[in-house]
Amino acid sequence: MNMNGQHDLSGTDAAGDEKPKTGRQIMPTLDQKVQDAIGRSLKAHYDDLVNAPVPDRLLALLAELEAKEGERDS
């Protein structure tokens, strides 16, 4: 997996098909340390949520769907 700023973020190809609406034409490239800090923070935010316990009802829902399908198929 490539994350944490491993992507090519070198602003050069950032124009895309979307023109900046403000007066700034070129996006300044962020300092690598700043990019890394933001990358780590985003990851910390996300991992914190990923690690939250999954409610039983979501697991039960899938078990139910599978059971229903089993009934129908047999």
């Binding site: 997996m1 490539n2 994350m3 944490n4 992507h7 973020l9 602003g11 190809d13 950032a14 124009a15 895309g16 098909d17 979307e18 900046p20 996006m27 300044p28 962020l30 300092d31 340390k33 700043v34 990019q35 890394d36 800090a37 933001i38 990358g39 780590r40 923070s41 985003l42 990851k43 910390a44 935010h45 996300y46 991992d47 914190d48 949520l49 990923v50 690690n51 939250a52 999954v54 409610p55 039983d56 009802r57 979501l58 697991l59 039960a60 829902l61 899938l62 078990a63 769907l65 599978e66 399908e69």
Partner: protein, 201 residues
């Protein structure tokens, strides 16, 4: 917890395609919740959103191409569901339910430069189109290509949104390497302190 007792999970088995599909879905639930919460600003809404997503995914399992990235496929469903049904609700309850109100807001690791609570406040201020791609590309492991497919936009658009979102976050969080070295520039600091001082005669 109704934990699965299947012998192996996530390995697609041809004999029991549905069973393994369920395993694939179960394995993605934590990511779906995290992505849903990041979009809606509410863990409570995220669970409803995930429930809808799982139901739709189950009903449309034939449209999933085996071997392709199931996370990207599920994110697409979740995101469409969010924008068509949940977005308004999300805005209404955002601050009362609090995505994170019962999650302890501490940095997950000491390397993290920014407090989670601060980051989340800043994330909430970003335009949706920037927030979603920052999360997808920066935290979920999706590539730019996959994020572009999820959002239905060109890859260059994703790149430019990521760049702008990142710059805006840095601004909101006040991260500037030049004038705030103490925050993230420990390397700079120690290299100076550790310099031996010439002493004595």
């Amino acid at each position: 917890m109704t934990a699965d007792r299947h012998q192996g999970c996530a390995q697609p088995s041809r004999a029991e395609p549905k069973r393994s599909f369920r395993d694939l879905l179960v394995a993605e639930i934590p990511n779906l919740r995290a992505f849903g919460a990041s979009l809606s600003g509410s863990m409570h809404l995220a669970d409803d959103l995930v429930q809808d997503t799982l139901l739709k995914a189950w009903g449309h399992s034939s449209s999933f191409t085996e071997g392709s990235n199931i996370r990207a496929w599920l994110f697409t469903i979740l995101r469409n569901t969010y924008y068509s049904l949940y977005r308004k609700r999300g805005r209404e309850v955002q601050d009362t339910d609090g995505i994170y109100s019962n999650r302890v807001a501490v940095p997950a690791d000491q390397d993290s430069a920014v407090d989670l609570a601060d980051l989340r406040k800043a994330l909430a201020k970003l335009p949706e189109e920037q927030r979603e791609v920052l999360i997808m590309v920066g935290a979920t492991g999706l590539s730019y290509e996959e994020a572009a497919v999820v959002c239905g936009v060109a890859i260059g658009t994703v790149k430019s949104r990521v760049n702008r979102g990142r710059a805006r976050l840095a601004e909101l969080l006040g991260i500037h390497p030049a004038d705030d070295p103490g925050d993230i520039g420990t390397i700079i600091r120690t290299s100076r302190q550790d310099r031996p001082v010439a002493r004595g005669p």
